[in-house]
Symmetry: C2
Subunit: 451 residues, 2 copies
C-alpha cells in the first residue's frame, strides 16, 4: 500500500489539550443528562478493558502512576469515571497485577464505582488485556444465568490505558462506531519529534519523514470477535514482546484498523512532569464555577454582584443565589465551589448549615470541595471578643470539615463608603477567593484572610 | 547498515525528569563555582544557536510559548540561563521572528543576559538556524576587529530549542565533546508511543518495531565546519520542508551523528499541559531550601530548630542562622527562601531590614523570592492595639515588597508550656510555611496566618 501523508478524521477544534467535560465530573447517575446529543447514541453493547498493571518506573516514583493520588484520589479512579459517565458503556474490566487486587477493590468501593470488575493481570501487557477480554466473555455467561435482562456479550470492546484519564465521550463514540464498522479502530496523534533509525553502534542511520507516520495512542476499539480471535491465534512471542493490539488484528484477522486523530488530552501520564500536568488540568477543571450564597440580604447581594464583575473571577462562572432551598437545591449536585457571604456576627451558623447540606449529599466524595466564608463587617469597631473568637471558631469548623474533604477558608472585609476603598476591597476578595479555589491548599484551611 | 536495538551513551541515573541543577538558578558570575569537576572542562570554543521563532499554535495560546511567563519571567529567559551558567559556552545567538526582535531585546536587558545576541529569523526553521550560524561567523569578524583577545570562530555549535529550558551542563558537555570528535551529535529519547505507518485512506499500514527507533530531540552539536557546509550545500527544498539538522549533516557532509540518550528533562514544551509541568518543575526547584533567621534570640532559635524537625519541611533544606552579617552574607547569593523568626513586638523592623538587604542585592531579579515573618508571641494577652496594627503593617510592607518581586507572608503562633499544644503549633507553622514557599501565591501576600 502506498505511504503518503494521511487524511484522518479530525477531532473537534476546541481549546487544545484540556477536556471540555472531563471525566473528573461524572453525572451522579449515568444517563441523567438531558442534553445528550442524539448522534451520540450507540445501539450496540460496548465494554471496556482497562489494563493497569504498569509499574511506573519512568516517573521515578515508588507508587505505580495509575495509583498516584490527585487531590486525594488515585489517577485510575479519574479514568474509570471518564467511562462510567458514558451511558452506553456497560462494564469496565480493570486488569491489575495480583499484588494490587486488594488496593484496586478498595478504590472501587471507596469512590463508589458502579460498572467496574477487577481481574488479575498476566506477566505482559498483551496477557493482561487478553485476561480482560476473556473476563468480558465469562461475565456474560454469569450474568445470563443470574439475570436474563443482561445485554449480553459486547459487540465492541474498547481498550484504554489507566493513565490516560482525560478521554472524552465524543471521541469514545467515534472509536466505537468505527470499530463496529471496520472491525478495529485506534487513536493516533501527530509525532512531536522526528523519529530516527539508529545503527547498532549508536549512530544515525536515517530519519523518517515525519508526515508519513503517526504515534499510535489509546483508546482503541475492536469488535469482540476480532480482538478475541486475534488473541486466540497469536503466538507466545506476540504475548511476550508485542505492544500493539492493532498489529495483532491486522496480522491474525486481516483487519486494517481505521485511524482517528484524537485530541492532545489523550496523552499518557508517563513521566513525573506529567503528574504535575494532570494535577493542573484537574484543578483547573474544578475551578470553573462558584456559587455565591447571600441569604437574600441586600448588602450581601450587592457584594456578590460586585464580585461577579471583579477581575479575579474573570475566568470563573459565578452564580448568585440566596440559599440552597427549593429549586436551588440542585446546586450541590453540580460541580460548584461555594462562597457564603455573611453580614452579621455569629454568622458562622450560615456556613455550618451549608457544610451540613454538602456533607449530607456526600458532595466531596470525588474531590475536595472549596467553601469560602466572606464576612462583610459593617464598621471597624468590632468588639475585641469577636475579633479573637472568630479566627478560633472558623479554624475549628475547618478542621472538622477537612475530615469530610471540604476545604473551608474565611475572608474578612469592611464595608466602606469610600468608593475607591470599597472597590479595592472587593477586588482583593475576588483575587483571594479565586486563588483559594484554584490552589486548594490543605495547609491554609481555617485561615481568616483580610481583604 | 544493520538496524538493531541500539547501544547508546546513558545519562546519569538521577531522579528522572527533574533537573539536578537546572538553569533557572545560574551562578551570578559564570565560573564562580569552585566545585566544577575537571572532566567538564572544554578546551575549545563553543557557541549556541537558539531558534525561537515558533508561533505556539499547539498550546492554543496567543503568546508563542517561548514568551509565556513563568513566575514573571518568559520561558526563553530560563533556557538562556541554562546556557549562560555554563562557563565554557561563549555566546548565544537567539533567532526570533522579526516582529519579536524588540520584545526579545527587552527580555535580554530586563533579565541582564550577558552572552546573548539577537538576530532575525527566516521563514522556516532551517532558514532561522542558518541565520544564527551565519551570525556566529560574522560575530567573529566583528570581534576580531575590535578586540584581538576574542576566542575566534567557535569550534562547535550547539543547536537547541528555546522551549526546552531544563537542559543541564553535563549533557551539553557530552554533546559538545561528541560533536567535536564525530562532527555531529544529537540527543535521543526512547519512543513513548508505537509509531505506525498509515495508508493514504487513513488505515493502518504497519507498525514500527519500537526498539529499533528513537525520538530525535535537542540539543544537537556540530563542528562549525560541518553545520556551515551543510547549509551551504543543501537545497531550497531542504530549507523549505526539512526539520532535522542531523539529516543535513549526513546527506551533505557524510557525517553520521553520534546519538546520545538524554534525560527526560530535555522534553519540549509543546502543549498547554507542558506549561503547567514546566511551572511545577520551576516552583519545585525554587522550594528546595530556606534560611531561618533568629536574631540569635534563644526562644527564636528553639522554634527554628523545632521547625527543622517538623514534617512540613521534610523535603526542604532548612538552615538556621542568626542574621545575614559577616560570613553569612553569602546567603542572599544562594537561591534561598527566608523565614524571619521574631519574638518581640515591633519586630517587623527585622523583616524590614531583611527586605532592604535582599532588594539591595537585587536578589529577586530572576524569580519571586519568598520571605515569611514568623511571630512567636509570649502570651495570649497581647494588647488590642497591637492585634489591630500588625495585620495592617505587614500588609503595607508586603505591598511594597511585591513591587520588588518579593512575596512577604506572616505567620503568628503563641508560646505554650503545654507540650502537645506547642508541637501542634510548630507543625502547623511548618505546614503553612512550606505551602507558602511551594505555592508562591501573589494573591496571599501580606496575610497574617494563624498557627
Amino acid at each position: 500500500m502506498e505511504l503518503s501523508p494521511i487524511k484522518v478524521l479530525q477531532g473537534d477544534e476546541r481549546e487544545p489539550d484540556r477536556p471540555a467535560q472531563p471525566g473528573v465530573f461524572p453525572s451522579r447517575e449515568a444517563g441523567m443528562s438531558a442534553q445528550q446529543p442524539a448522534e451520540r447514541c450507540v445501539d450496540f453493547p460496548v465494554s471496556v478493558v482497562l489494563p493497569a498493571g504498569g509499574t511506573g518506573e519512568r516517573t521515578g516514583l515508588q507508587t505505580p502512576k495509575q495509583f498516584c493520588s490527585f487531590l486525594g484520589r488515585p489517577l485510575i479512579s479519574y479514568t474509570i469515571q471518564a467511562f462510567e459517565r458514558v451511558s452506553w458503556i456497560q462494564s469496565i474490566m480493570v486488569v491489575v497485577a495480583k499484588e494490587n487486587m486488594d488496593l484496586m477493590m478498595d478504590i472501587v468501593q471507596r469512590f463508589q464505582h458502579r460498572k467496574v470488575r477487577v481481574v488479575p493481570g498476566g506477566s505482559t501487557r498483551h496477557r493482561s488485556i487478553c485476561n480482560g477480554v476473556l473476563a468480558l466473555g465469562e461475565e456474560e455467561e454469569e450474568e445470563e444465568e443470574e439475570d436474563r435482562s443482561s445485554a449480553g456479550r459486547p459487540k465492541v470492546v474498547i481498550i484504554h490505558d489507566a493513565v490516560r484519564p482525560f478521554v472524552e465521550e465524543d471521541f469514545l463514540h467515534k472509536i466505537a462506531i468505527a470499530a463496529k464498522e471496520q472491525g478495529a479502530a485506534g487513536a493516533i496523534r501527530p509525532l512531536v519529534s522526528t523519529v530516527i533509525a539508529t545503527t547498532s553502534e549508536g549512530y544515525l542511520d536515517h530519519s523518517l519523514e515525519r508526515a508519513k507516520f503517526r504515534a499510535s495512542e489509546m483508546p482503541q476499539g475492536f469488535t469482540y470477535e476480532v480482538i478475541s480471535q486475534a488473541y486466540q491465534r497469536c503466538t507466545e512471542s506476540d504475548f511476550q514482546f508485542g505492544t500493539e493490539c492493532l498489529h495483532l488484528a491486522l496480522q491474525y484477522c486481516g483487519t486494517n484498523a481505521k485511524l482517528i486523530e484524537g485530541p492532545p488530552t489523550l496523552w499518557k501520564v508517563t513521566y513525573k512532569r506529567d503528574l504535575a500536568a494532570a494535577e493542573s488540568i484537574i484543578k483547573e477543571t474544578l475551578s470553573r464555577s462558584a456559587c455565591v450564597l447571600t441569604g437574600g440580604v441586600t448588602r450581601a447581594v450587592t457584594l456578590a454582584e460586585a464580585l461577579q464583575k471583579a477581575a479575579g473571577f474573570v475566568e470563573m462562572e459565578l452564580d448568585v443565589i440566596p440559599d440552597l432551598t427549593g429549586e436551588r437545591a440542585r446546586y450541590p449536585f453540580g460541580e460548584w465551589n461555594f462562597i457564603q457571604v455573611s453580614v452579621s456576627h455569629g454568622c458562622l451558623s450560615e456556613v455550618e448549615n451549608l457544610l451540613l447540606a454538602l456533607e449530607a449529599e456526600n458532595r466531596a466524595l470525588l474531590h475536595p470541595l472549596v467553601v469560602i466564608w466572606v464576612h462583610l463587617s459593617s464598621s471597624e469597631e468590632l468588639s475585641v471578643s469577636l475579633r479573637a473568637a472568630e479566627p478560633v471558631a472558623i479554624m475549628d469548623l475547618a478542621s472538622s470539615a477537612k475530615l469530610q474533604n471540604i476545604l473551608l477558608y474565611g475572608i474578612q472585609l469592611h464595608q466602606s463608603k469610600d468608593e475607591d476603598l470599597w472597590e479595592r476591597s472587593v477586588s482583593k476578595v475576588a483575587e483571594i477567593a479565586s486563588a483559594l479555589i484554584r490552589e486548594r491548599s490543605p495547609a491554609l484551611v481555617g485561615q481568616l484572610l483580610q481583604a
